[in-house]
């Protein structure tokens, strides 16, 4: 269980996160969304212990991540947006690094790497950015960690790899694993992320499950325009409209449309989701 309470962080005089409180429970894949510069990466680095909160606290299963205790470090994996090219072959890298994660599975690493179409005997410092990212993704998933913090994991991946990533994440993470994935590429991940956290300038706008979003908002893919639509987007085949769900009818959540709705009607959405 991740518990963030009144978290604050700033870079010098520039405040990035202020009074952020949220809880993340086990067994979910959280999508962390937000515009550029709202503090998504900062939040992830605070969660994994790379940064120390300036205000408030973070606990992960009751432990402070910034203490960087080996037991917590071996329970988590932080996958940065830009990963480091190791001067070794992928297989050597996995063998040498994997020993620090008690549940690391080398066979699983080779399997995922093969599914992502990267050769295990290839040197990592000679890989393309996409191949390098895929190697780190394979390694991360083979660690069998309980907590994953992934910053823009699909950045730099080609189209087939994005699908393979989605498949690998759902297939190779255990049911009690908690993933927090920050992304701008919502379409890449909208089928796997649930709940959704939307960060805005120094606050959490939404922390809701897909079921909750669907219960409170209706996503209309028809062509008939509604007067009470909070958001309207023309698409080649018609349009997407988002409006309050007054009938209780179910609809498929379009994460991008939801994100834009939240941004256009922050106060309405915050009131709707009781934040």
């Amino acid at each position: 269980m991740i518990d963030i309470s009144n978290l604050g962080f700033s870079y010098g005089p520039k405040s990035v996160l202020k009074n952020i409180s949220l809880k993340a429970s086990e067994g979910n894949i959280y999508g962390l969304l937000g515009e550029n510069g709202v503090g998504k990466t900062t939040l992830l680095t605070l969660l994994c212990g790379l940064k120390k909160p300036l205000e408030g606290s973070i606990t992960v299963d009751g432990r402070n991540p910034f203490n960087r205790e080996p037991s917590l470090l071996s329970d988590q994996f932080y996958l940065a947006d830009e990963v480091t090219p190791v001067h070794a072959k992928a297989m050597s890298f996995a063998k040498e690094h994997g020993v620090f994660w008690p549940k690391f599975d080398l066979d699983k690493f080779f399997t995922i790497l093969s599914e992502l179409e990267v050769a295990a005997d290839q040197r990592m410092d000679a890989m393309s950015a996409g191949q390098l990212k895929k190697t780190w993704i394979a390694f991360a998933l083979a660690c069998n960690a309980k907590y994953y913090y992934m910053d823009e994991p699909t950045n730099g991946l080609d189209i087939p790899s994005k699908a393979q990533f989605r498949k690998a994440v759902t297939k190779y993470t255990s049911e009690d694993s908690t993933l927090i994935i920050s992304t701008h590429q919502v379409r890449d991940l909208e089928n796997i992320i649930d709940p959704i956290i939307i960060l805005d300038n120094q606050e959490v706008l939404v922390n809701a499950t897909m079921e909750e979003i669907s219960r409170k908002l209706f996503f209309d893919y028809g062509s008939e325009l509604k007067a009470d639509a909070l958001y309207l987007e023309q698409t080649p085949g018609g349009c997407i409209q988002v409006y309050p769900n007054v009938t209780g009818e179910e609809s498929k959540v379009n994460v991008e449309a939801f994100f834009n709705t939240v941004h256009a009607h922050k106060d309405v959405i915050k009131a709707m989701f009781n934040l």
Binding site: G49, R68, P70, S71, L73, Y78, T84, H97, F100, W101
Partner: protein, 275 residues
């Protein structure tokens, strides 16, 4: 406090082996270049003498000792690079997120910097030098034999001083400050390497220059009035001996304190490093 979270010998050993592997992987070229300086110098000297004099001349002992001293100095300066990657966002994050405790990472860093690297350098350098001495009779005696005879002469000189003067000098009077200053210099450049993000060597040398300038100024202001008011005729031999021993002992204590201070600086940096 859970000791296993602070230091575990089993995990330390795993980490230490990993750290050594990474060190070799990332710095082997520099290690070969510095460790093989004797052989490189021998080949260059020979090449120049063959080209310009058409005679077989090998480096003279004075030049060989000077090259050894220069190579050792280069090794000291190189410490800004051995763990310099810690200040880089990507590699530094990977280092901090590796599941080993801060204490284990610190001890491994110290062992590698103070023990492994210098001893490996000495072994490689002196073995190569010994090999050259063995295969080329014109090369002269191996440096290691010159060093041992120099040490024997030093001991004899000390015995002579002890017999003929009231001063008491022991081998530790010479070796402790030497060891302390060697540890000091390696730790100093290591600390600068993990503190400065850019221009690590320039920064390290600039600080040394600034400190020595300030110390020179202070000494220049403080010492002359002391000597002006000092009546050397009133100082007996016992006082002079006591003062001299005091200065020597003070120097040893100061060197040790500086090394401990730098060690604490390295520990503090590892503990508080953020990315």
């Amino acid at each position: 406090m859970d000791m296993n979270q602070t230091f575990s010998f089993q995990r330390f050993w795993t980490y230490f082996k990993y750290d050594l592997t990474q060190m070799w992987r990332n710095h082997s070229k520099a290690a070969i270049l510095i460790g093989g300086a004797s052989a490189i110098f021998y080949v260059m000297w020979l090449l120049f003498s063959l080209v310009f004099t058409q005679e077989w001349h090998t480096p003279v002992i004075e030049a060989r000792v000077a090259v050894f001293a220069l190579a050792f100095m280069a090794l000291e300066l190189y410490q800004v690079r051995t763990y310099g990657h810690l200040t880089e966002k990507k590699a530094g994050s990977a280092y901090l997120m590796l599941p080993a405790s801060r204490a284990e990472k610190f001890v491994s860093m110290l062992l590698i910097t103070i023990v492994v690297i210098p001893f490996l350098f000495m072994a490689v350098y002196l073995l190569l030098d010994g090999f050259l001495s063995l295969v080329d009779p014109t090369y002269g005696k191996a440096l290691v034999t010159s060093f041992s005879s120099a040490y024997v002469k030093l001991i004899e000189g000390m015995a002579q001083i002890n017999a003929e003067s009231p001063f008491r000098i022991t081998p530790s009077t010479m070796t402790v400050p030497s060891i302390a200053s060697y540890i000091f210099s390696f730790l100093y450049f290591l600390l600068c390497g993990i503190c400065f993000k850019r221009n690590k060597l320039v920064g390290a040398l600039a600080i040394l220059f600034a400190i020595s300038t300030v110390l020179s100024l202070v000494m220049g202001l403080v010492m002359p009035p002391i000597f002006e008011n000092l009546d050397l005729d009133l100082i007996d031999e016992d006082t002079l001996v006591r003062w001299t021993q005091g200065i020597i002992n003070g120097g040893v204590v100061f060197s040790c304190l500086c090394s401990v201070g730098l060690g604490w600086g390295v520990w503090h940096r590892i503990k508080t490093l953020q990315h």
